[in-house]
Symmetry: C2
Subunit: 418 residues, 2 copies
């Protein structure tokens, strides 16, 4: 049949992506086990096998988050879907929120909170630094917010904000404590219960070895109580047995965590149609992390991150930011004087098949960001990246001692017993 | 190392779903080609191969939607994410929206629109019927809404709302015309441009043969102009070159279609991290539909849907609703007097590995819903379902003529030249 909307026949070929070693700030190369898990066939939305898979996924993420929180589940979307679900469910218009901003993703928390109608209070750090607990407590005293929202690892600056004292401060001031751990979890310590977090959201595409598209979250009892006050059941599936809350209805259906809990909970009230393939992937990401052991995975990220950073430094490159607060899994490195940053990235990608990252905002054009995370926190990935980058930088005229990067990394591997 | 949050070792086994033939109202068994496409490894977010894949996906969905709309792209979430993205981007608080409700998903449109702050006006039909264009035009004249929002196919009732006269009515009254075609597209005619639709959202998990988790949408120039008035660029990536719109900021970051267009467009402004695996899947769903030919796929759904419905009717079962307005891809059938509906579904699932659907709201406990859609709009799937259901119904005491279902279906296949 003829069809005026028929597409170019060339598009009817299956897509076949080129091989890439993804050594940027994420997304990174997915662990093949996760891709295999995602290739499993679907079961129905309320099949006992499906609800078992959902329950197991909840249990596995309790291990990832280090929490006993019952409400540990997936939001069906990318990591910022998890952020928005948490903020729009916790915040009512006019509520005060404090956001310490030390990079792009702090701005994102503000942006999302503003759209939730929050009164957003920000404190700022230069990109490359983090906050002290005292600075945050001072701001909490001034602002008296309902929620403290802070990212743990901000890939835009490579910094890792220490969270270990903040929960105690929040509890003392009656503040809900929320953190986004997308960039850091699995590669750096994260302790939901020990650090007294009330809400955490993450994504799969960094140290958890998966693709973007599912956002695991966990909620404390306090957070759940706040959300339950705003409970609402959809028309069309509501019955007389369902009791609504007294609070203001959450301003999103898709991100209404009360409804999402009712879907993941025993009631299994229909909400969205769970993205089963992403569920399979998310479950496998948690499974392989716990199989390795969370502490072992963090240690692996520490060692490969150190080998990469010191290898780069040995190539006459200057590292960005306060190294004592750097995430294990990504390092910023200044683009050397006289070297065209994008030409180097382009040669890395097109000649060597290796992706390294550019930067945002104030760091745009100034630093590259190089990741060692998830499946690519591996010796071969680190050494291939260092040798390729040395070759590209040499051809770009950068002055460096030959072989220094790879030899330094090798020395670190020997020291660390790798 | 010991770890108080360590999970049950039984959970560390990979998940292995049981084999199921999904003959409910969706999600359905995924075409294996889609699963294979989704098992491809990732490329970086701005890799030329990635942006090419995104552009190709846009082009392919123009073929699926039958539109020349430039802004034809994916929202990263389930089909209701696409609905919410369209509504929250089009509607400002206080705007009037008209929703003709003829099933559960009409209620959903109202629910989402209410949360967007819209003044929602509803008109209702009994479940099992659809609206005439006159009924809708009368309501448009009374309400004078900014947006008409209506689902095309509502799986809760199996009905297909004719849309072909509504675009002209909307254009005449200056109303934006939005439809959700999740349940129907690919299995029933859908003509975005011919029917003058301004916005359409769908999902993959019905006739498009994919898993839930990606929501293709398309927007007319009029819809885009409405959204562009509310343009906003995130702090952290904003530069002096970016001009914001004058309208009220969209009340969601994740669903801000202006930002999502800036991400899919030439500017490639960072928003979310595209869910690459879902993108691969969505691209393949469109590719296989266009390879088959949209008209051929619709015809296939018509034939298998007819074989199923008439096969069921021949088994002394009464079909639900106005059959002249039924979707091709799902049929409702009354649970016979004296038969326990859930016991039948349970035997179908546990003894035969075949899932058929239950119902919501006023139809709960009264009808089963049986799908013939996407990959499962196939002769073997239809015949297996009919023979299995005959066996289960026979054992449940239902009075029927032996072999009538499968013989009737076979006759239809012969008549249709299958």
């Amino acid at each position: 049949m003829t069809d005026q909307y028929s597409v170019n026949p060339a598009l009817l070929r299956p897509f076949s992506p080129p091989p890439r070693l993804l050594m940027g700030p994420g997304p990174i190369t997915v662990d093949p086990r996760v891709l295999r898990a995602m290739s499993a066939q679907l079961v129905g939305q309320y099949d006992p096998a499906m609800t078992q898979c959902m329950n197991e996924t909840m249990a596995l993420y309790r291990g990832v988050f280090k929490t006993k929180n019952q409400w540990t589940l997936l939001v069906d979307g990318t990591s910022r879907a998890g952020i928005e679900a948490v903020l729009i469910s916790l915040i009512e218009p006019g509520d005060k929120i404090l956001v310490p901003v030390f990079g792009r993703f702090g701005h994102l928390l503000c942006e999302i909170a503003e759209r939730c109608g929050a009164e957003v209070h920000k404190i700022h750090k230069e990109w490359g630094e983090v906050f002290t607990p005292d600075e945050i407590e001072t701001a909490i005293k001034q602002v008296q917010p309902k929620v403290l929202a802070i990212v743990q690892g901000d890939t835009s600056t490579t910094m890792l904000q220490p969270l270990d004292h903040l929960g105690e401060i929040c509890a003392r001031h009656g503040v809900l404590f929320y953190s986004d751990g997308t960039a850091s979890i699995g590669g750096n310590p994260f302790e939901t219960d020990k650090w007294q977090l009330d809400a955490v959201s993450v994504g799969l595409q960094k140290c958890l070895c998966g693709p973007s598209g599912s956002a695991p979250i966990t909620l404390s009892e306090k957070a759940v109580a706040t959300i339950r006050k705003r409970r609402h059941i959809e028309a069309g599936i509501r019955t007389d047995n369902h009791i609504a809350g007294s609070g203001r209805r959450i301003a999103s259906n898709y991100f209404d965590l009360g409804m999402i809990m009712d879907y993941w909970g025993e009631e299994r009230l229909n909400h969205h149609t769970e993205a089963t393939t992403m569920l399979y992937g998310a479950r496998e990401c948690a499974r392989i992390l716990l199989e390795e052991g969370v502490e072992n995975a963090i240690e692996r990220h520490r060692i490969h991150g150190k080998a990469m950073a010191q290898g780069l430094a040995a190539m006459n490159l200057k590292l960005f930011g306060d190294q004592s607060n750097k995430m294990h899994n990504v390092v910023g490195v200044y683009i050397p004087e006289g070297v065209a940053g994008e030409a180097v990235r382009s040669s890395m990608l097109n000649d060597f098949g290796i992706e390294i990252g550019t930067s945002f905002g104030p760091l745009h054009g100034k630093i590259w960001r190089i990741g060692t995370m998830g499946y690519n926190a591996r010796k071969d990935a680190v050494l291939q990246t260092l040798t390729a980058l040395e070759a590209v930088l040499r051809r770009a005229g950068h002055s460096q001692t030959a072989n220094a990067g790879v030899d330094t990394a090798m020395t670190i591997y020997t020291q660390e017993g790798y």
